[in-house]
């Protein structure tokens, strides 16, 4: 055992600087932010305690509910589609095909590029390229600019999200698929399992951990989506495609409602924390102990 003095010395040498930075940059703003939600803070000073007024104001704010609802739908659609497509791609690129590395690269590359640039690229695709394509090929679905209508603009965001994130999840699923012992799969074939059965009864349970991680990552990223939302739709038409992140940003920095905006950000944090906890607990249960 180390003496108390040694322990303190080690702490001073290794942990002080990182922990001071972490505290000042993350913990202090976090708790200060929670404190501000109970005051009439205007970005400069907080003169009065107002109890739960800011939360009441948020709950009475129709636009906030609309944005929160839209975000939940967006998260749900993204989590399902990103992981379905990502897993499909993983199955595809683990077949011994020619040029597999090239294929993996093609699926993965959108992930390297930031949401803002991707949003701007797709703004051009939906606004200029696809309408012309629809006209020339006679496929009517892309005839109108998808970004001009609330419903299609929402799906445009989901499409770009799937395009961006599925490659990342593919990598995680590929790693998990390759990590399964070949003997187990061969044993199942000898016992007469079909490809589908081997996938369902052997591979899926053994890679449940990859699902826990991928679902968590997709969920977290799509809850916090800001760049793509800003660059692709900017919340238009008429602020109907504003996800919660952009909504909070505009509430505070656009309209100067700092305390209300902060209370909405805290609600956002709570929603993420609860959903993440439930998801991780549920999918952890499906994991096989080896």
């Amino acid at each position: 055992m180390r003496s108390r003095r040694q322990e303190i010395r080690r702490f001073l040498v290794f942990a002080t600087i990182p922990l001071i930075i972490f505290t000042v940059v993350l913990l202090v703003p976090f708790f200060r932010g929670i404190y501000f939600t109970f005051t009439n803070w205007d970005g400069f000073t907080a003169t009065d305690f107002v109890g739960f007024d800011n939360f009441v104001a948020s709950f009475n704010d129709q636009a906030f509910w609309a944005s929160l609802g839209l975000t939940l739908l967006y998260v749900l659609a993204s989590v399902i589609l990103v992981n379905a497509v990502g897993f499909g791609l993983a199955l595809l690129v683990t077949i011994p095909l020619r040029g597999v590395n090239f294929l993996r690269t093609a699926f993965f590359v959108p992930n390297l590029i930031g949401g803002v640039i991707l949003g701007l690229i797709w703004q051009f695709i939906f606004g200029q390229a696809l309408p012309v394509l629809a006209e020339e090929s006679g496929i009517p679905i892309f005839k109108e600019n998808w970004l001009l209508d609330t419903q299609t603009a929402f799906w445009a965001m989901v499409i770009v999200t799937v395009w961006q994130m599925s490659g990342y999840m593919m990598i995680i699923y590929v790693t998990a698929l390759m990590g399964i012992e070949r003997d187990l799969i061969e044993a199942s074939y000898i016992d007469g399992a079909s490809n589908a059965k081997a996938l369902w009864y052997i591979k899926l349970p053994l890679m449940a951990q990859a699902f826990t991680i991928s679902l968590f990552l997709t969920m977290r990223n799509s809850f916090m989506a800001y760049d793509l939302n800003l660059a692709l739709t900017g919340g238009n038409p008429y602020r109907t495609t504003e996800l919660i992140s952009l909504h909070v940003f505009r509430e505070a920095f656009g309209f100067g409602n700092f305390a209300t905006g902060q209370s909405q950000a805290v609600i956002m944090f709570l929603v993420i924390a609860i959903v993440a906890l439930v998801q991780v607990v549920l999918t952890k249960r499906l994991e096989v102990q080896r």
């Binding site: 990182p18 976090f30 803002v116 701007l120 051009f124 395009w163 995680i172 909070v248």
Partner: protein, 276 residues
């Protein structure tokens, strides 16, 4: 055997079509970046009538490309190095000390990973802006912020790795008279290569592409990073698609080069980071 071959051919064609779909937006932007304004609007899908590179020359001056690229590089390199140093040291302390305090600290770090930046950005402005402690809004400040946000995940990754390094190595070094810091620097640090690769790639991609934090912190146009510049530029010249396309291509090129040089490391870094 023949059947299996035919099925593989089918999958190969299917996968290739999908790959073309994935690459389609990039190809289209690249194709249009060498066209004139009118040609882009009239025929965005056609092969360029002639390849003209004046869009690129104009875009480089208008978005102040080299400055923005330099800023992005400086911030990414400094912030990632700082994250590596701070979190490997913190992880070493936490992994080797068995006190209640260090267990609690580790728990707080892990829990902090689900705090979205959006819940911090509003108090941030009050705390560090003109009415708070008025930090200079420059690259060093933003790097410190990145350390604050990145240290939790990176410490977590290092912690998992260091816990598997036998404690006997520390003891042997101590018997030879090494101080804790020398032990860390000479014995532990050289073994951390694989995690350091993961940590640099995960943090590097995040910081390079980050938009929200620099958009709040960096107000001086000389200090703006590449994602900020692309956006500002787009807003101003939306009517001139040629410039916008060239700007997008220019913003994408550096990260693509990085990817093709480091491909293997990036893929293994991401899968290692996720499995932890």
């Amino acid at each position: 055997m023949k059947r299996a071959k035919r099925i593989n051919l089918f999958f190969f064609i299917f996968a290739s079509v999908l790959a073309v779909f994935y690459a389609f937006p990039f190809l289209l932007v690249l194709l249009n970046s060498v066209k004139g304004k009118r040609e882009i609007i009239n025929s965005p899908l056609a092969w360029p009538a002639e390849f003209r590179f004046d869009n690129f020359i104009a875009a480089i001056t208008k978005m102040d490309y080299w400055t923005a690229l330099g800023n992005s590089l400086i911030i990414t390199v400094i912030a990632v190095s700082a994250i590596i140093i701070t979190s490997s040291m913190l992880a070493y302390y936490l992994a080797r000390s068995k006190t209640k305090f260090s267990a609690a600290t580790f728990l707080i770090l892990v829990a902090s990973m689900i705090v979205p930046f959006q819940a911090l950005m509003i108090p941030f402005v009050g705390l560090f802006g003109q009415n708070g402690i008025n930090l200079p809004l420059n690259q060093i400040t933003i790097c410190i912020f990145y350390v604050g946000f990145g240290v939790a995940l990176s410490t977590f990754l290092y912690h998992g790795f260091i816990s598997n390094i036998p404690y006997e190595l520390d003891e042997a070094a101590a018997i030879d008279g090494a101080s804790p810091f020398t032990t860390f620097r000479k014995v532990i640090l050289p073994m951390l290569g694989p995690v350091t690769a993961t940590v640099s790639i995960i943090n590097g991609l995040w910081i390079w592409n980050d938009f929200l934090l620099p958009s709040i912190v960096l107000s001086d146009t000389d200090q703006k990073t590449l994602p900020l510049k692309t956006f500002v530029f787009y807003g101003k010249y939306t009517s001139d698609y040629g410039l916008a396309m060239a700007g997008l291509v220019l913003s994408v090129i550096p990260i693509l080069i990085f990817y093709f040089v480091m491909q293997r490391k990036i893929i293994s870094g991401i899968s290692a980071g996720a499995v932890k």
